[in-house]
């Protein structure tokens, strides 16, 4: 089993939901995360605050975030265990934000 990072972009953090819809989305997240934990493949995960800074250039210029439009904003990440990238991508299909325009980027954590 290898480690894979799922990076959550856009989705529930960018959509204008009613409170009831937000709660429904939240419940789906609870269920999904719980499912990953129940399978014993959930390793770690954290949310990221929407504001930040960007540092760029040979003579570094620091600018205030957000770095992108909210639909491109990274909301958080988790690390899960899977046999290969295909299995990890299959797992990512369960992400509750996909139906509402979210994206999951799946990357293998490189071991060397």
């Amino acid at each position: 089993m290898k480690d894979f990072m799922m990076i959550f972009i856009g989705g529930s953090s960018s959509i204008h939901f009613t409170p009831e819809q937000m709660q429904a989305n939240m419940q789906q997240w609870f269920n999904w995360m719980n499912e990953l934990k129940a399978k014993g493949i959930y390793v770690y995960g954290e949310p990221l605050t929407p504001n930040g800074k960007t540092v760029k250039g040979k003579e570094p210029v620091v600018t205030d975030g957000p770095f992108a439009e909210s639909k491109e904003l990274v909301g958080g990440f988790i690390i899960v265990k899977a046999a290969d990238i295909d299995e990890a991508a299959e797992l990512a299909k369960g992400c509750p934000d996909l139906p509402i325009g979210g994206t999951v980027e799946v990357r293998e954590v490189m071991k060397y």
């Binding site: 953090s13 009613t18 409170p19 937000m22 709660q23 609870f30 129940a38």
Partner: protein, 423 residues
Amino acid sequence: MQTAPAQQLVDHLFRHEAGKMIAVLTRIFGMHNLEMAEDVVQEAFLKAMQVWKFDVPANPAAWLMQTARNKAIDIVRRQQYHRQYSNEVAQQLLTETENTIGQFFSDNEINDSQLRMIFACCHPQLKLEDRIALTLKTVSGFGVPEIARALVTNDAVIQKRLYRAKQFIKEADVRFEIPAGLELMQRLDTVYTILYLLFNEGYNSLKADELIRKDLCGEAIRLAYILSQNKSGKQPATFALLALMCLQASRFDSRLDEDNSIILLQNQDRSKWNHDLVQMGYYYLNQSAQGGDMSVYHIESAIAAEHCLATSFENTNWRRMLQLYDMLLELKATPVVTLNRAVILAQSGNPQQAINSIQALDKIDTLLQSQYIYSAVLGDIYLTIQDYEQAKKYLLLSRQLTTSEAEKKLLNEKLKTITIAIT
């Protein structure tokens, strides 16, 4: 491997907390800054959406309130210390801001703010439909699409109503307060009207889907409960209204069968009535008896209680019912009350008198041509005295007018019994 079940939030937690947060924040920012309050609530929810996925707080409601509180302090501080004073003064002002704002977040003050918000949304100068939309949005935490679904209209119509209501609140400088004395009673009356409408919309409108209708009824009961928990709101009429809604709601699940057809009161399985709600109804009915005044809600809840007390439809105390309807008619001389009284008259063995009382209604022809319920009741009474010709005439008219599939089905069944009876 045995694992714990997934985290479960309390039903409608976000909705209910939205109402609380908006009320408190509006009290802090002022009624003219209602939108600012809504923005803060939205921000708090977005933050929750991000963070809770990874770690649900032990007390989600308190977490939301705390987040709203911190944001409120931030905003007030930003405005206030725009220009810096000396460090010492700034420090003191900061502490004061925190204390001043913090005090609005106690349970008592939250309840108080919610009541103020209810009063503001039910302002008598607002159109009735605007009041309902604004109350659902601001007090109940419903979103525009949900309000539209509940009221069987579209989003644009609701947007317009909300816009109009908010404009009025800004322009008329509506105060965010609980009135006292006679004014309190008058304002409470406008609130009762809205809660009663909300409840009836949920209970009677067969056009909206069952789920959202249940939400509406639940919400009306919840708001009445909030009223009853406030020192200004806990009036006898508040308890009477609460009793009425609990008793009615106890029959919610018995009114329709699996095919979504209406089950009439006389055919309902009384063991299916929600016993807990009936008991709550009796409890509030008792509470409402304190104090001398008799409101419309007192009588209507007494009528609802009579239904619950009867072991079967046949065993209903019709004499007592008729007395109650006579009292109700004195306070509320509307065609609908007359119509309901006629049903009781017919049940107590006076069908002809019942028919006469309906036919004697002012503008009965217009009523018959515009609202299906009048012809439905008339047709029914004619059916009981076996005047099939008249019965058929009115039931057909009723079927033509109703838009509800369940009603149509019921009317068709009655028409079928006529066909069988005359052949």
